[in-house]
């Protein structure tokens, strides 16, 4: 009954219904299944999922705010999932990305949802993927996922996206070094933000080189310069997004990514589902904390009839 109400809420773009539905998946509530399986797949297929990642403070939220404005002016309904890490100690989190997007707070066609990573084992793909579906099901045709690009779980989230943009800015130094490893390879668009700051030109040139490097097999990586705080370079960025989207559609890359993302979501849910019972077994081990942990793990899984 509740899910009936929620589904109607989604269809009618009721902000509370949408928010509640996302909470249910976040809390692993069994009702989530009903809601998720009633969502129109074609809406999910049609939506464009844009991943925006990069080091802390690069300007991801400010940029997201500007991108929202552009898509709104084209008449699209926009959803945003802004992910921030949970504190490993307290489990709490401060979710502050919304500060930069408050200009859209009263626009009913901009749905912003902040999510904490909640120490989920398989990354955040399960919950974020479900949130993408809910936003698409509630009529959002553009869905932006913002995440800090530092850890593996954030990388995993980006794999849910059709198009990934990596936001860099001059003066972030070491962060960028740390990111070169993985993120530069998965990014479709390299954004040099804070173009108004010293060092932006040099950084953009470096990025151009990386985009053209032999190692980069795609060779379709776009480089954009933006000053998000002043709204500069956003038209060019949207054009780059469109170019990448068109090429991904034509080459079949879009379909391939959706299929991989689907598998990743299934895997992530499976891990989420077995985790509580395994944790319980581990907690009940008593004094048997002996021997190779790996062996014990396979034993536990065997007992679980999953091995």
């Amino acid at each position: 009954m509740i899910s009936e109400q929620l589904l109607r809420g989604l269809r009618e773009h009721d902000p509370r219904g949408i928010a509640r539905a996302i909470s249910l998946v976040e809390e692993n509530d069994p009702l989530a299944d009903e809601i998720l399986s009633s969502i129109d797949d074609s809406l999910v297929d049609q939506a464009m999922v844009l991943g925006i990642t990069g080091p802390p403070g690069a300007g991801k939220s400010t940029l997201t705010d500007r991108i929202i404005s552009k898509y709104r002016s084209q008449g699209s309904r926009v959803g945003v999932i802004a992910v921030d890490p949970s504190s490993p100690i307290s489990g709490g989190a401060i979710l502050g990305d919304r500060i930069r997007m408050m200009g859209h707070a009263l626009d009913k066609d901009v749905v912003v949802r902040s999510m904490a990573t909640r120490g989920r084992l398989g990354g955040l793909c399960a919950a974020a993927g479900a949130a993408v579906r809910i936003l698409a099901g509630s009529g959002c045709s553009v869905i932006i996922i913002e995440t800090v690009g530092v850890g593996q779980s954030e990388m995993d989230i980006i794999r849910l996206a059709d198009i990934t943009a990596l936001v860099l800015a001059p003066g972030l130094g070491d962060d960028i070094q740390a990111m070169k490893a993985g993120l530069l390879e998965v990014a479709d668009i390299l954004i040099v933000n804070k173009a108004d700051c010293a060092g932006a030109e040099t950084l953009a040139m470096d990025m151009e080189c990386i985009a053209r490097e032999g190692g980069n097999k795609k060779n379709t990586t776009q480089v954009c310069m933006t000053t998000a705080s002043e709204g500069k370079g956003i038209d060019e960025l949207l054009a780059a997004i469109e170019t990448v989207d068109a090429s991904h559609r034509e080459s079949g890359e879009r379909r391939t990514r959706r299929e991989k993302a689907y598998d990743l979501e299934v895997l992530d849910w499976a891990i989420e589902m077995i985790k509580p019972s395994i944790i319980e077994k581990i907690e009940n081990l008593g004094h048997a904390r002996k021997g190779a942990p790996r062996l014990l793990a396979s034993k536990l899984l065997g007992q679980n009839n999953l091995g």
Binding site: G96, A105, L106, S114
Partner: protein, 140 residues
């Protein structure tokens, strides 16, 4: 199933024109350290913006911080904006330099609890937890 601790989501906002966000940020961090997920909306928000954000974020409580002295109009305005958004069940807690005689009036106006500087932070966190628990159990 292993016991899973409930994670409560709250929103901390600053309505009105004063730009002093030390108190708001302090409470936000204290709540995070107590295990809450805290959506922070920054300074100078209208009651309507705060209510809309609270709805979209599906929080179980809203905390407001104000130093400008405009609490008598702004705190009830947030309560009203939440009601207008169909979210009258989300409790509003307020903090700031607020004279005793105003506190009773604010409670009458639907503010769940009011705290002044010097209140032990544990007490505030306890109040948020209780408010969240009530909100959550009321809607299921």
């Amino acid at each position: 199933m292993a016991e899973q601790k409930k994670t409560y989501r709250v929103l901390i906002g600053k309505p009105g024109l004063d730009g002093h966000d030390r108190g708001a940020k302090f409470i936000a961090r204290a709540l995070r350290d107590a295990g809450f997920e805290v959506v922070y909306t920054g300074i100078r928000r209208t009651p309507e913006e705060i209510a809309a954000a609270a709805v979209q974020e599906d929080v179980s409580a809203v905390g407001l911080s104000l130093l400008s002295g405009a609490h008598m109009s702004l705190f009830p305005a947030v309560v009203k904006a939440l009601k207008n958004s169909g979210a009258g069940d989300i409790p509003v807690l307020g903090g700031g330099v607020i004279p005793d005689e105003d506190i009773a009036l604010l409670k009458e106006a639907g503010i769940n609890a009011v705290y002044t500087p010097g209140t032990p932070v544990d007490k505030i966190i306890g109040a948020f937890r209780a408010a969240c628990e009530t909100q959550k159990s009321g809607r299921n």
